[in-house]
């Protein structure tokens, strides 16, 4: 179970404080999958970081009675001067996990070949994404936090992610944040729209999507009379 109680996050900005998350409370039961839709900058990633414990909330608290992953497919934690192998070794050490088994799994999934022993800075963005995802899969968690995973990688990568994460680990809880509504619809069983610091929950995707569409909706400015007469 993950319980959020009155999670509030404010960031200092020039001339005051900006509230990103405003007293958010919800529970996530084991095995449930929550999809969070929101515009860019709505606070989706902040929410994920707070749930993961990487960042602390300004107020409120998070209670975790199941193990929670770091934000998935996130590649920023790699030291780019180190090789892929060294990075896997580091993660294995931190989580007290079997390096020999992990490196086999990463090698198998990420298909980096000889690049596994090259510095990460020489990797293409696709290779980094594959390494990041493979590394995220070597440590097992009860709940996976997934931040815009659909944005990275090619079709082959997307298929492999699909199998690893949503087939093999379909019994786990997940929180997926994205602005890709179709992706969230296909993988979650309940939904929320994050807007203006508040979470609006919907059991039904269509309800959530209607609200989300309203929020991101942007109509081109209607033609002025001048333009109209020119036509």
């Amino acid at each position: 179970m993950i319980r959020l109680r009155n999670i509030t996050k404010t960031y200092p900005v020039r001339g005051g404080q900006r509230t990103i998350l405003d007293a958010i409370s919800f529970d996530l039961a084991p095995g449930r999958k929550l999809g969070v839709l929101g515009r860019n900058g709505a606070g989706k990633s902040t929410l994920i970081r707070i749930i993961s414990g990487a960042e602390s909330a300004s107020a409120g608290h998070v209670e975790r009675t199941m193990s929670v992953s770091w934000p998935l497919a996130f590649s920023g934690a790699f030291q780019t001067a180190l090789t892929g192998r060294d990075n896997v070794r580091f993660i294995s050490r931190i989580y007290n996990s079997d390096f020999a088994r992990n490196i086999r799994a990463v090698d198998d999934f990420a298909e980096l070949g000889a690049y596994l022993d090259e510095p990460v800075r020489t990797y293409s963005s696709g290779m980094r994404a594959r390494l990041a995802f493979a590394v995220s899969m070597i440590i097992e968690f009860d709940c996976f936090l997934i931040d815009e995973i659909s944005a990275v990688g090619d079709a082959r990568f997307a298929q492999k992610c699909e199998t690893e994460l949503f087939r093999k680990r379909s019994d786990r809880a997940m929180i997926i944040v994205s602005h890709d509504a179709a992706y969230v619809r296909d993988h979650c069983d309940h939904f929320a729209v994050l807007d203006n610091g508040r979470m609006h929950f919907h059991a039904d995707f269509e309800d959530a999507y209607a609200l989300f569409k309203d929020l991101i909706g942007w109509a081109p400015p209607s033609p002025t009379t001048e333009e109209a007469t020119q036509r």
């Binding site: 960042e55 001067a81 050490r93």
Partner: protein
């Protein structure tokens, strides 16, 4: 299969085990990023400070620096400059240490203080290895005698290291608040160097200057190390209670500082 992250309040023993593991992992990672696998690799950890120390020792020996005592100049330079490396490099490694490592905080078990401790341990190992190896080398080729009281040398060295670590933690945490720390530490550390006791014995100073110079905690540490090395002939001046009190206070302030900046840390 589930390897991590039980969220019930863990026992102290378990927490310590996790922290030890994380610090070790960070330390190995630091070794790899700083020294890599090229040429002599991690040997640079102590070869670099050794080159520094040998250089300074050679310069001071050639110029026959006046240090106002009958201690052989080689031994004087080795004890003095090694001590400087210890207290000066630690803060240097901790100031702004966090920014390049911020993404590591995504792993819940990695805490800010672990990043600092890993760097401090590495710095301590480098300076200590350099001091030990050069001490043994100079002894073997007959440039200096073995220490008269090895335990006292170790004690003085430990006090210097403690002071250096506390200072480093404090400045490291403070550097997250303001970049002034980085700007000011460089000039300050250079200005304090000639006053730090590396290049003089307190005994050789005029009485009035002694009182002022002894306000600097590192001076006490160097004096203890030298008394351990040269015994009574060093005429060391120091006050153990004073340095320990300063180190305790600084450690406490450092921990408070780390605790208070932690909630404000924003990861990319």
């Amino acid at each position: 299969m589930i390897a991590t992250g039980e969220q019930t309040m863990p026992s102290l023993q378990r927490s310590l085990a996790v922290q030890r593991r994380v610090i070790l992992a960070l330390l190995m990672r630091e070794v790899m990023t700083r020294f890599g696998r090229h040429n002599i690799g991690f040997l640079w950890l102590f070869v670099e400070p050794m080159i520094f120390t040998v250089g300074v020792t050679a310069l001071w020996s050639l110029t026959k620096t006046v240090h106002g005592s009958n201690i052989p100049i080689t031994a004087f330079a080795l004890t003095g400059y090694s001590s400087v490396l210890l207290w000066r490099n630690m803060p240097g490694r901790c100031i702004n240490a966090l920014y390049p490592n911020l993404p590591l905080l995504y792993h819940r078990n990695v805490r800010i203080i672990d990043i600092f401790i890993a760097r401090l341990l590495l710095e301590f190992l480098g300076a200590t290895m350099s001091f030990m190896l050069l001490g043994m080398l100079f002894h073997m080729i007959g440039w200096m005698d073995a220490p008269e009281d090895l335990l006292e040398v170790i004690g003085g060295w430990a006090i210097l290291a403690w002071f250096g670590m506390a200072l480093a933690l404090f400045l490291g945490a403070l550097s997250m608040r303001t970049e002034l720390v980085e700007k000011l530490w460089h000039p300050l550390s250079y200005l304090v160097f000639p006053l730090s006791g590396a290049a003089f014995m307190v005994d050789a100073l005029p009485r009035q200057a002694q009182d002022y110079v002894l306000l600097l905690p590192m001076v006490h540490g160097v004096e203890i190390v030298r008394e351990g090395y040269f015994g009574g002939s060093a005429h060391a001046h120091y006050d153990c209670a004073y340095v320990v009190a300063i180190a305790i206070t600084l450690t406490f302030l450092a921990l408070l500082q780390i605790r208070s900046v932690a909630p404000a840390i924003v990861i990319e």
